[in-house]
């Protein structure tokens, strides 16, 4: 597996895949995509990077333990449901905030944060399984 071509290409490929996964995540509300698919793409990126350059370098690159990322995602998704409570609406009722920055309209919403949570959960969980399997000696 560790051919020189693969090893050279893999970091760039992974970076592109992660970038693409974020693009897919953010466009999800209006075009095909979303947190789940984005998460799967990013997890594949981690797996490829791991196969090519070793698990240790992946772990260095993502700083946090993948399961920690996953747990934070779940936390973020749950927290995204809370703001509606302060407006006396049911838990998880979506809230929208339209921001105008330099003439560009940015729609911030609780479903967006929820979707980011889903993304992180999937990257973390699948990524940590893949990495753990790639490691010959479990850490």
């Amino acid at each position: 597996m560790r051919t020189i071509i693969f090893r050279t290409i893999a970091p760039y490929l992974s970076a592109l895949m992660v970038l693409f996964s974020i693009f897919v995540l953010l466009r999800g509300h209006n075009e095909p995509g979303g947190g789940f698919i984005g998460g799967l793409i990013a997890a594949s990126a981690l797996a490829i990077f791991g196969i090519a350059c070793g698990v240790a370098s992946v772990r260095r690159a993502i700083v946090f333990h993948p399961m920690g990322v996953s747990g934070f995602g779940l936390f973020l998704a749950a927290v995204a449901g809370i703001p509606s409570i302060f407006k006396a609406q049911a838990f998880m009722t979506s809230q929208w905030l339209e921001l105008h920055v330099f003439g560009v309209e940015i729609a911030l919403s609780t479903p967006l944060f929820f979707d980011i949570g889903v993304y992180l959960v999937v990257v973390g969980a699948i990524g940590s399984i893949a990495l753990a399997l790639e490691e010959r000696e479990a850490d």
């Binding site: 075009e31 799967l40 797996a47 399961m67 449901g81 929820f114 889903v118 940590s128 399984i129 753990a132």
Partner: protein
Amino acid sequence: MTPALIDDTTLYAVLAPFAAAVVAPFLTRWFKHNAAWLLAIVPALIFLHFTGFVEPVSKGESFVAAKAWAPSYGVNFSVYVDGLSTLFALLISGIGTFIILYAGGYLKGHPQQGRFFSFLLMFMGSMLGLVLGNNLISLFIFWELTSITSFLLIGFDHLRAASRRAALQALVVTGGGGLALLAGFILIISATGEIEMSVLLASPDIIKDTTLYVPIFFLVLGGAFTKSAQFPFHFWLPNAMEAPTPVSAYLHSATMVKAGVYLLMRMHPLLGGTELWTTVLPLFGGITLLVGTILAVRQTDLKLMLAYTTVASLGLLVMLTGTSQEKALEGAVLYLLAHSLFKGALFMVAGTIDHEAGTRDITKLGGLRSAMPITFAAACLAALSMAGLPPFIGFIAKEVLYYGTWGWLELGLPITITAVIGNALMLVIAAAVAIKPFLGPKVETPKHAHEGPVLLFAGPVFLSVTGLGLALIAHTTGELFIGPTLSSLLGKTTQIELHLLPTSINAPLLLSLVTIGLGIALFTQIDRLRGLIGSVLTTIGWGPDKGFDQFVAGIVGLSWRITRLLQSGKMQTYMMLTFIFTGAAVLLPGFLTDSLPAMPKMPDYRFYEWGILLIAFFGLIAVLVANTRLTAIVSLGIQGFAVALIFMMFGAPDLSFTQFMVETLSVVILALVMTRLNLSPSDHRHGLAAIVTGIVAIGVGLGLTLTLLAITQQPFDSRLSDFFAQFSRSIAHGRNIVNVIIVDFRGFDTLGEIAVVVLAGLCVLALIRVRTKPEKPIEKPKTVAPPTPAQTGEAH
């Protein structure tokens, strides 16, 4: 009379002890044991609050207050204040005040004293919530909270095995009864449609008229009998004496164990008076009374003697409640009040003796009267009340209850005889507890005994003096406390006349004389009696306490056998069983009900659609003929990609996208798993194994196909898709309906799903990290070894 609505102060009074429980550990850190003085203010204020109800309640008024809790289920946090609940609330907060003080002295310097205060206050709040509870569900919740706090308090000294066992036993018994009670309450709610006690009490026959009366009766009884330690569930109460003495005095004599009696009294207008009631309750109450007193005589440990008489007193209360006779019920209420006062005081006396002299075995105590004069005085006052001698409240209670049972035509005689024997034995114990440690020659004790601090004697003195005082103002006591409580039991306003001394020589007075005579006669023979009972029990050699251990061991053994049956530990077996059952579940209903879907007609596909189907088909063939496992896994991926293409062509880009990713990742992960497992590269199964696996696989596949066909042949209900299509843009600001459904319309589902993903990830990670170890047979779990009788204090 309909209850009047009052403000929320009473609701906060119930919650106040919980708030105090939160600050108790901090106060104890700053003020050490003197925090007791501050913490006792809380129950004292609650007591004052409830004294305000005494006067209006005695005039026949009642009050309710409520806050919505889970309104969609009709669950409210609500209180109902009438005679019965006022009496209980006063006892809980009044005795509670002194228990907090006593705990300050008793556990002085204990490193976990703050935690102890905290548990004690939590219990107090739970108990208040229970006796004031109007909503059946919130009443049940407080009922369970008392079981849980009792568990924490019994197991307070958690480093000793005996304490842990006693705590667990109490929790299992009372918790089990709690479940029965919940079932009973749910039946009441479904049979009557009412959830508030005050509403139910307004129409007393509402439950008796339903067909569910008998199951409701037995389920409620299950809760009450376990909580109030009625035979044959009495064994947990003496074991609970493992708890520090303030707990024994408060929970296991004065308040918590009376919760069952409270419930029976509260439900008396609703469930009482029937033939079932007047048969079952007196029977079990009577047995409990006799068993309790007989076992009490046998003990030499002060606390255990008192514990068994508590069991007996609870039996007496249940027996009297079971008669449904007005006068006997009056006796029950009086006895309830008297018992809480004298038993609380005596327990604290026993604790003080233990604390100051270092032992509570009456054979090792004697002559403490000069060393501990105040404690001795309190013990005497309380014991005289317990023995039922004038001029104490215990005497009045005994007179009234004899009057009630004697006058009952149907079962009066056996009940009265039981009561006389029980009371005589109670007098024996009272004398033994009050006289033996204090009078006679001085005996050397492990510690040099002297009077305890004010924190220790304040409680016993106050409670025993109250027992005397309430008797001296008998007329007022009857008017303010006993009458209103009796009204709650009878469901109608009742006036009563109480007298300190009997007005004429009548049957109850003669019965009292018989009781006293019999008691004194038995007391002189106490050692012989103890030996006799001891030898009888040794001959029987089995009791419910041992039965409990056998029951627990039986359950553990059974679950072990079932686990071994279902969990063989072989992956292949698990997979096989899972697929066989899945196949059966999807196939059988169609065949059995003869509702197989019609064969679809040959579809009119275009050539490239056929092409994709062919790719999928070849992928599957490749799986079957593959030489190595790795090839099979990759081939399975071909089929998956083909399916993803089909999704794409029929307008589901999101689904298709996801399918691609899932297929890719599962091939990668399966391949990685292959490298880690020590599997041979190819599948060696041949012959029978291959045929069986093939049949199962074809069965599951066929079943799923038929299910899918059946589903697609149903007329399509477009309500949901129309709704999503219509509102996706306007409500959720999104054009991608699939994503909008996932993150918005059904976001709560997704939240659950991603929680599952996180958990699955953790589990897989844990499994990967398990190192392969040499195979070892799974050991049968050791059942908890029952402690020796010495540890549990020879409990029966």
